[in-house]
Each structure stands twice: as structure tokens, then as C-alpha cells.
């Protein structure tokens, strides 16, 4: 058996070596398919499937609550129930009995100073038992323990991530026990996290870890460690061995109801319905935590699955293409296989030989594909991470799992395409084959090749239709009126707290920054907000509106944007009624707000009627209606281009209680290309304070482009795969037509000799094309319409069964088929009857 395998392997190697051109074409076709699949799977595995590199990840659960709540949520994505307050965490950690550790985490940005060099870094604020509960061991020094995290502001210690230690400190072991300045506070570095561990939040790669008790230093101006109604933490726990998730949930919900009952006592005003939703109907779910927390996972799940589906189709096309090629070669090998049968070969042995030959080609293609895949993955990661791939902790190099995936994929496709020649050789007619009278597989081969080409045409139509829908989505989003002028606009973030500014200094600094910016050459106007546009940001709160009787369950949540004077004129958001926010709206002036048109129409029916009305922040009877509406501006897209415009309240910065605590996003309206003013602005910031580091300075157009990364990635991939598929199908179609036209030379010669015109001959070939392409399209169109429903959630401004796109793509496929048929048609029309008949 082994001997026979080795013998066939030796022959297979020789076959490959003796047919280098053919082998190369097959291997490269497969390499494209396998490479693309490996690349997409590399990302899909890391984002959707892979467990955290921690001890017994299957024991980890993520806590998520359902039910009403009041207060503020600082969310970074996912469900609002993913976020808990610190007092809630403390209760759950100290009073539960089913867990071996309950940990909390929060991600933020900090300013890190080392040898007087400031730098913005990502930080993860974690509970003292974070590493211990996860079972993570240090690369150097030590990691946090619970005793590091007991008293607020008592132990300023930090753990560095392995990558940050390498990048910023050159991997110097001497950094241990040294002091680094984080947000102007000294922290002692006690250890380095292991290389393979990034965070329990999958897409985070924090540079620095600090303990919860240091929150006041890490998030200056915002502590909330004692605020039960401020929810900002994600909580994970490790189930005790032998405790199932259901058992854990049963226990934790008893505790949860007790916590909620206690919390309700502290709330002054609540209705019976609220109580029911807050306590009785509220519960905690224990979600599978093995793969960590990942808001990105929810966002990318559908796009990744779509892309995986598309590369799957490309693989099928490549497979059909190779099967077609092998079936052509099968004709040439008929004699060889017939001789083998005549010499006593069993069918199983012939099949084994063909499979080994196929596997050899498949594995060669797979190996090249695996080598290609990191480049494709890197391109995708770059697209996903807005051009700064270091921010995403995804490896693009295939590991053992990925290699196993590629190996299995190569194996499966090899078996599939090897069946094509095996099909021809299953029951060959040996007598004529050995007499060399005929290529006995010709009829079957042609049928098989036609089927293979038909499948390729159909699949390429599917891919091209998808590409068409995604391209239209991208176009619709790119040309969408955002409600403000997106050109000649430069934007960047500034957080003075990270440079050590105190709250009382910050409003004046902001004022100075705006004045300086406005006076720079090339800058026409400047303004800022805490709630940046088209940056996936939201700052929402409940409001009470004078004269408006809200129903008990009505959603009174609105976007609450704090803005500087000239915000609307800088962004060019048109005023609909009243006035905008100006310099006169200082801390001592009457409290005013501007609202957007959606809000005005919802609460007042008409923008004009909103002017002079008042509103207050919060819900319930005790809310002060202290804010007077002085203006209404037209709607502008806020969170993303896709999302509906939220009802929005704009509050003057200087009248906001938070003016000294919040970081701002600055906007400069420029008179020239915005990027060209970036250097001038950086220099101006340096002159004001070299410690002020602007965060992500770029044009608004670039920001919009980045916000459309996923859409662009899908459209680009779908278009690339579609074009590749169409090319493969066109080459296959050309092959079939060229072959069948050559076979019909005698028939065509006779027809011409009998008086058929050249047009009639062309029609003969055309009818074959029409039959093949028509049948493929007829099968593919309903399939495309049915499958396109899966794309619906990713489309914008175009229906998933858009007839124009479908018609255009069908036309494109038909045109491609005509192009492929052009040379065989010309050849058929040029047949010389005398030559053809003499030849035969």
C-alpha cells in the first residue's frame, strides 16, 4: 500500500516536472483561491473564532445585564448592558460565590512622558485581579495583584505591554522600577505583560495597564469610582470548575436582584413600570467569554462572513477552472490510462494516482497561497485600521491553525478537481483507445467542460452582482450630503489633561487655541466640540422638554453636543431659525441651547415654534428647565453616514459644567487644501505648549474615507473577486468554443460548401455561446437574487434586488462572453471548405 503510494507520488512528481507550464497555471490558479481564502480566514479566525491566550478560556464568562437603568453609559460599542458601574462591579466581585475571580476593564488614552518626550498611548484600566484571574504570567517583573488595587490613588504602578516596551523603551530590562509620567503623574513600572497577550478586549492593544484605583489619574476630571449610576466597565469572571453557565446565572441573578433592590432604594423618583423593568425584569446573562469582548466583532461579523462567502465562490471558480483544465488534459492521457488498465490496474489504483497528482498540484497551490496570504491580510488590516495597522492586534502571519485550514482546504479542492479526470477514466472504452482510433473521452470532456464553464459564468455573475451592489453602496455613501461642508476642513483632537492641565486652566486654553487657529494663514475659521462628527461617537442623555408630555416609555434620549462659538459657521451647518452659539454665550450669560431640525420637528412640530422654548437635562419631575432654545440648525449626519440623524442639543462650551474636563475635537475651515495647513497648525500648537499632542490630524474627507473603510474593503474585494472570476470564466469559455469550433471544422466546411454564408456560420457559434451563457445566467439570476438578501444589512441607498444593477451585470457577463467568443467566431467564419474537407 505504502509502496504503491510512494510509486504514484514519484510518478506524480514527474508529471508535474514534465508539464511545467500546465502545472504552473494550475498551481497559480489554486494559489489565488487558497491565498485569498487563507487571508480572509486568518482575520475571521482572530476576530470571530479564536479564544484568548489565557488559562482555560472556556471558563471565562462576560457579564451582560438586561433591563432598564438610569444614569450615564460610557460605551465603546456593543450592547449598553455590557457596561457596569464600579460599585456594581465591587458588589458582584465580593458577593458572588460561583466565580474564581471577577475582573473589570476600561480602555482609554493617556499621555506618557519618558525622558521629557511626550507621547499619546493607549491604556487599559484594570482591576487588581485582572491578570491573576486570566492566568497570565509576566514576560518580566510582576503583574498586578489585588493588593495593588485597594485604596484610591495609593499605588501608582503600571504594567507595560510587550510591544510598547519594545517600541518605546527598546526592550530595555532596566525600565523595571523606573518612573514614567502618565498624565503628568509618576507611575512605577512593575512589569511587562507577555508577548502574546494584548487585552481581554480583542481589538485592543493597550500600551500601558493601570489599576482601577488610579482612575482619577488615568481619566483626569472623571472618577466615578463611587458613582453607581455611571456605567463604564466591562466585567468578566472565571467560573469555578464544575459550575456551568446556567448554574452561574441562577446564582448571580439572585445577587443581581438584591443589588438592584438596594439601588432602587437610593433612587428618589421612580414609577411602578420602571421598578418592574429595573428589578424584576432585569437579569444578568453570562455570555461565553472565551473569545473576550469585541465590539468590532459585531461590526465586522457580517462583512467578514460576506467576504468569506465571496472568496469561497472564488475558490469554487478556481476549482471548476482547474477541473476544466484537467479534463482537457484527460483527453491526452486517454492512451496512458487505457494502457494502465490493460496492464491490470484496478480502478481504485487509477483513482489513487489521479488523486495524488491532484493533491500534489493542490498542495503546491496551497503553499504558494499561504505565502501570498499575509500580504492580502496586511492589506485588509490596513484598510480596517484606517491606515494605522499597529492599532489592531491582529497577526497577518498564518499560525498552525491557519496552516491547518489551508491544508484542509487544499486537500478538499484537490479531491474535488481530481474527480474531473477520474470521471473520464472511470469506464473507458479500451479497445479504440488502445488502437488510437479516437479520443474516447471527447464527448464526455466537452460536456464536462461546458458544465465547468457554465458554473464559472454563473458564479462570476453572483460575485459581480455583489460587487455592483457594494460599489453602488459606496458611491451612495460617498456622495451623500452629510449636512455640512466636508471639504476644506481639517480636524484633530486635543486633551489638555494628558499634558497635565488642571480643569480651571482648560477653558482658557481652549479659547487661546481657537483664537490662535483662527488667525493662522490659510485658516478661515475654527471651532471645536466634545462630540466629533462622523467618528462613531455619541454623547447622549435624557431630556425633558417644556410643554411636551412624554409618554411613559418614550425615548427621550438626545445627542448632547458641547460646542464652541462659530461651530455652525465653521462646519457650514445652515441655520434654520433663530441664532447660533456666539461669544456672548459665556458662563455668566443666560443658559441657551441650539437644537437640530429633527428635534425641533419632533417636539414642536416646526422649527420656528421651538425658538424661546426651554428644556432641561435629565428625566423626572425634578428637572430644571433652565436651558432656552435660541436657534435651530439643519440636520447633519452625526455618528456615521449610514445612521439616522439623532435629535441633537448643542450646548455652549463655556456654559457647560464639563468645560474644564472634556477633550475637544477641533475643526479648522481652510482656504486651501486642508492637509497643507497641518504643519502650520502643529507648529502653532508647539508654540503654545510643546506638551499638547494633537490626536489624528487629518482632513474631514480623509476621516470620511476612513469611516467607509469596511464598505470600501468589501466593494474592492467583491470587484476584484468578480473581475478575477469573470476572467477565469472568459478564458474557460474561449477554450470550450475554440475546441468545439475546431471539432466542427468539417461540418462548417460542408455548410459553407453547400452555400451557408459567413454570417450563418457566425450564428452557429453564437448559438452555442447563447445556449451556454443563457443557461448559466438563467440559473444564476434567481440564485443571485436569493443570496443578495444576505447582503441587505450592508447596503445603503440600493435595494438588494436592484434591477438596474442586475441588468448591468447581466449585460456585462454577456459582453464578456461575446468577447471570449470573438476569436472562435472569426476562425469559424474563416474556414476554407476545400482545406477543411481535404483535411478530413
Amino acid at each position: 500500500m505504502i509502496d504503491a503510494l510512494l510509486q504514484d507520488l514519484r510518478y506524480a512528481v514527474r508529471m508535474v516536472r514534465n508539464n511545467p507550464g500546465f502545472s504552473l497555471i494550475v498551481a497559480m490558479t489554486l494559489a489565488l483561491g487558497i491565498g485569498a481564502n487563507t487571508a480572509i480566514f486568518t482575520l475571521l479566525d482572530q476576530i470571530l473564532l479564536r479564544s484568548l491566550p489565557v488559562r482555560d478560556p472556556q471558563q471565562l464568562v462576560q457579564l451582560q445585564f438586561v433591563g432598564s437603568d438610569s444614569g450615564r453609559t460610557s460605551s465603546r460599542g456593543g450592547s449598553p448592558g455590557d457596561y457596569f458601574s464600579y460599585p456594581m462591579y465591587r458588589d458582584l466581585r465580593d458577593r458572588s460565590t460561583v466565580f474564581n475571580g471577577v475582573l473589570a476593564t476600561y480602555a482609554t488614552q493617556v499621555g506618557v512622558q519618558w525622558h521629557n518626550q511626550p507621547d499619546l498611548a493607549t491604556a487599559e484600566l484594570v482591576s487588581g485581579n485582572y491578570f491573576e484571574t486570566l492566568g497570565v504570567h509576566p514576560a518580566m517583573g510582576r503583574l498586578f495583584v489585588q493588593s495593588d488595587d485597594v485604596v484610591q490613588q495609593a499605588k501608582p504602578v503600571a504594567v507595560l505591554s510587550f510591544n510598547y516596551w519594545q517600541r518605546r523603551f527598546g526592550g530595555d530590562p532596566g525600565i523595571l522600577n523606573q518612573t514614567v509620567v502618565i498624565n503628568a503623574h509618576p507611575f512605577t513600572v512593575i512589569g511587562i505583560a507577555p508577548k502574546n497577550f494584548h487585552s481581554i478586549v480583542v481589538e485592543d492593544a493597550p500600551d500601558v495597564f493601570a489599576t482601577m484605583m488610579m482612575k482619577a489619574e488615568i481619566t483626569p476630571g472623571w472618577n466615578d469610582l463611587d458613582n453607581r449610576r455611571s456605567r463604564w466597565l466591562n466585567i468578566f469572571a472565571r467560573l469555578k470548575p464544575g459550575v456551568s453557565r446556567n448554574q452561574g446565572e441562577a446564582e448571580i441573578n439572585n445577587l443581581w436582584h438584591s443589588i438592584r433592590t438596594d439601588e432602587l432604594k437610593d433612587m428618589k423618583v421612580h414609577s411602578a413600570t420602571f421598578r418592574e423593568k429595573f428589578v424584576e425584569k432585569s437579569r444578568v446573562n453570562l455570555l461565553d467569554g472565551a473569545r473576550g469582548f469585541s465590539p468590532l466583532r459585531d461590526v465586522l461579523r457580517t462583512p467578514l462572513l460576506i467576504v468569506m462567502g465571496m472568496v469561497g465562490l472564488v475558490m469554487l471558480i478556481a476549482c471548476a477552472n482547474v477541473a476544466g483544465l484537467l479534463s482537457v488534459r484527460a483527453v491526452g492521457r486517454m492512451k496512458e490510462i487505457s494502457v494502465r488498465y490493460a496492464l491490470g490496474a484496478r480502478r481504485s489504483r487509477i483513482l489513487q494516482q489521479l488523486l495524488i497528482e491532484g493533491l500534489l498540484l493542490g498542495l503546491a497551490g496551497g503553499a504558494v497561497g499561504v505565502m501570498l496570504s499575509p500580504y492580502i491580510s496586511a492589506l485588509l488590516v490596513q484598510r480596517m485600521a484606517s491606515g494605522s495597522p499597529n492599532n489592531l492586534p491582529f497577526s497577518v502571519s498564518p499560525d498552525l491553525r491557519i496552516l491547518a485550514f489551508s491544508f484542509v482546504l487544499s486537500l478538499v479542492v484537490s479531491i474535488l478537481f481530481s474527480l474531473a479526470p477520474a470521471f473520464h477514466f472511470w469506464r473507458p472504452d479500451l479497445t479504440p483507445a488502445l488502437k488510437q482510433q479516437t479520443t474516447t473521452a471527447a464527448g464526455g470532456t466537452m460536456r464536462f467542460r461546458r458544465a465547468s464553464v457554465g458554473i464559472q459564468i454563473g458564479l462570476s455573475l453572483l460575485l459581480l452582482f455583489g460587487a455592483g451592489l457594494f460599489a453602488r453602496t459606496l458611491y451612495n455613501l460617498r456622495t451623500l450630503d452629510a449636512g455640512f461642508a466636508t471639504d476644506h476642513l481639517l480636524t484633530f483632537g486635543i486633551d489638555p489633561k494628558l499634558a497635565g492641565y488642571q480643569p480651571e486652566q482648560i477653558p482658557a486654553l481652549y479659547q487661546r487655541l481657537l483664537t490662535t487657529l483662527g488667525a493662522l494663514p490659510g485658516v478661515r475659521m475654527a471651532a471645536a466640540t466634545n462630540d466629533p462628527l462622523l467618528a462613531n461617537n455619541n454623547e447622549s442623555t435624557n431630556v425633558t422638554v417644556s410643554g411636551y408630555n412624554a409618554k411613559e416609555d418614550e425615548d427621550m434620549n438626545v445627542e448632547w453636543s458641547i460646542v464652541t462659538p462659530s461651530f455652525f459657521s465653521t462646519l457650514e451647518i445652515p441655520l434654520v431659525a433663530g441664532r447660533g452659539i456666539g461669544e456672548q454665550d459665556g458662563p455668566d450669560a443666560a443658559k441657551v441651547v441650539v437644537i437640530n431640525e429633527s428635534m425641533a420637528r419632533h417636539f414642536f412640530g416646526d422649527p420656528q415654534r421651538a425658538i424661546g422654548q426651554s428644556l432641561g437635562s435629565g428625566a423626572g419631575n425634578g428637572v430644571k428647565m433652565a436651558l432656552q432654545i435660541v436657534g435651530v440648525v439643519s440636520d447633519a449626519k452625526h455618528e456615521t453616514l449610514r445612521n439616522e440623524v439623532p435629535r441633537t442639543v448643542f450646548v455652549p462650551l463655556l456654559q457647560s459644567k464639563e468645560a474644564g474636563f472634556i477633550p475637544l475635537q477641533f475643526y479648522a475651515r481652510t482656504s486651501q487644501a486642508p492637509e497643507s495647513t497641518a504643519t502650520t497648525i502643529r507648529a502653532a500648537l508647539q508654540r503654545i505648549d510643546s506638551g499638547l499632542v494633537p490626536d489624528t490630524m487629518r482632513s474631514m474627507e480623509a476621516q470620511i474615507d476612513d469611516s467607509l473603510n469596511t464598505e470600501r474593503m468589501i466593494a474592492l474585494l467583491a470587484a476584484s473577486f468578480g473581475v478575477l472570476a469573470a476572467l477565469l470564466a472568459a478564458v474557460g469559455l474561449y477554450g470550450v468554443l475554440a475546441y468545439s469550433t475546431a471539432q466542427r471544422t468539417r461540418e462548417i466546411g460542408i455548410r459553407i460548401a453547400l452555400g451557408a454564408s459567413r454570417t450563418a456560420v457566425v450564428r452557429l457559434v453564437l448559438s452555442e455561446v447563447a445556449m451556454l451563457v443563457g443557461l448559466s445566467i438563467a440559473v444564476a439570476v434567481p440564485l443571485a437574487l436569493s443570496l443578495s438578501r444576505l447582503l441587505r444589512s450592508q447596503l445603503f441607498g440600493v435595494s438588494n434586488n436592484d434591477p438596474w444593477t442586475l441588468a448591468a451585470i447581466t449585460g456585462l457577463v454577456a459582453a464578456m462572453a461575446l468577447l471570449a467568443a470573438w476569436i472562435p467566431m472569426r476562425r469559424a467564419a474563416g474556414v476554407d471548405p476545400m482545406v477543411a474537407l481535404r483535411y478530413e
Binding site: 504503491a4 490493460a342 479497445t431 488502445l434
Partner: protein, 235 residues
């Protein structure tokens, strides 16, 4: 060794069937050297394919040694082929990608002969046919005569009881043809039964019996009465 009784072979055509062999009755004894002759299309190669169990689509009775071939399934017929029969083809049909050694090794590997035993059997045949020096050459590096020598060597490497040769010298120069026929004669003298198809009277002279086929019928067989000539096709 071989008994054919009323063996017929036909192919389906649009309207009915076209017969290529009609009511063939034939007895071949062990040690015979039989020559089958006849014009093109007479059914010679088809008869050889049936004798060699490469063709399944015939009707009638075929006894080979103690086996009623007509009652056996395809697999069992293939087993008989492997065990008892060697083929020699007009176009040699050596496997182009294999060396001389490997070409001789292939039929043995299909018979599940162990590697060591195969090596000694191939070595013995290489020696017997005096082609040891050519064992690492590919067919394209050999002359036609040398290729057919390897073809014969491949047919005998498994020690078959019956060799079926389909125009074995058809592509050879007369001196090479003579060499091959001498070889067949020698094999026959050593006890191997040979059935050859040929157009050459000279080659036929090496055998001890010549059968004439015409339009699918046996027109002349020294051991049997000739059958009257009949039309070969029926509607």
C-alpha cells in the same frame, strides 16, 4: 485453454446495432501460437480485446482455463487478466513518463507483488531481454524496435500463460520485426500461448494456426469448418 461459443459484439447505432463480431466459435489449446488475420474492420482487435477481458460488451460464452468468463463480473475478469494475460500493442504503448525499468515494474505493482520480488522479477526480464543497459532510459530515447522489445518484456514480466499481440510488428522495420517474432517463437516454445493479430504472412508463418476473419465472421479456421459469408450489419 480458451473456448468461445457464439460470441457476438455489436455497437448501438441510431436505428439498431452494428455487429463487429458474429457467432464466433473458437478453441485454443495451451501452447498454441494462433494468428488472426483479415482486412481492416474485420473485428480482429475486438476479438483480442474480448480474449484479453478488456471488453465487456459482448454476448455468448467464453471459457478461459477453468473459468466461465461470461458469468464473471468486471472485477473478476480484471483479476483473470492480471493473473494470466500479457499484452503487446502495435504502438508499443509504453508509458512515456516512466523509464524502461518502471514500465516493466508497473504491471507487477498492479498485481500487488512485493517490492523486493518485483525488483528481482524485473531484473530477470531485463537480463533475459538484454536490455539492462537501457533500464534508466525513457521510451522516447529508444528506437521503435527497442520500444517493442520492452513492450514484449513488459507483457512477459508477470509470467503470463497467454500473450495477446495486436500487430506487434506493424510499426517496425523488417529486421526488427523478425527479431520480435523470433522472440515470440521462443516464448511459445517455452510454453506460453500466443494469439497475434497481423497482416503479415511472414509473421503468420511463425504460428501453428491461422484464423481468417471477415466482416466479423470467422471465414477460415483450419480446426473448424468455414462459415458462409454473410452481411455484417443488420438494421
Amino acid at each position: 485453454m480458451i473456448q468461445l461459443r457464439n460470441v457476438e459484439r455489436s455497437y448501438k447505432t441510431g436505428a439498431g446495432a452494428t455487429y463487429v463480431l458474429r457467432r464466433i466459435n473458437l478453441d485454443i489449446q495451451a501452447g498454441d501460437f494462433v494468428t488472426v488475420m483479415g482486412p481492416s474492420g474485420a473485428g480482429k482487435s475486438t476479438m483480442l480485446s474480448i480474449l484479453g477481458m478488456l471488453d465487456d460488451g459482448w454476448a455468448g460464452e467464453y471459457h478461459f482455463l477453468d473459468h466461465a468468463v461470461h458469468k464473471l463480473d468486471r472485477k473478476k475478469r480484471a483479476d483473470l487478466n492480471r493473473q494470466y494475460i500479457g499484452f503487446v500493442f502495435q504502438s508499443y504503448h509504453l508509458l512515456d513518463n516512466l523509464t524502461v525499468y518502471e514500465n516493466l515494474d508497473v504491471p507487477l505493482s498492479y498485481r500487488n507483488v512485493s517490492r523486493g520480488q518485483r525488483a528481482s522479477m524485473v531484473a530477470e526480464v531485463l537480463d533475459r531481454f538484454q536490455i539492462v543497459g537501457k533500464k534508466d532510459l525513457y521510451p522516447s530515447q529508444l528506437s521503435g524496435g527497442q520500444q517493442q522489445l520492452v513492450g514484449v518484456a513488459r507483457a512477459v514480466v508477470g509470467n503470463p500463460k497467454l500473450i495477446l499481440a495486436d500487430e506487434p510488428t506493424g510499426n517496425l522495420h523488417s529486421s526488427q520485426a523478425k527479431e520480435i517474432m523470433e522472440l515470440f517463437k521462443k516464448l511459445n516454445d517455452q510454453g506460453t500461448t500466443i494469439v497475434q493479430v497481423t497482416h503479415s504472412e511472414a509473421n503468420a508463418a511463425y504460428g501453428n494456426r491461422t484464423i481468417q476473419l471477415f466482416d466479423g465472421w470467422i471465414a477460415n479456421d483450419p480446426k473448424n469448418e468455414p462459415v458462409p459469408n454473410t452481411t455484417a450489419s443488420i438494421g
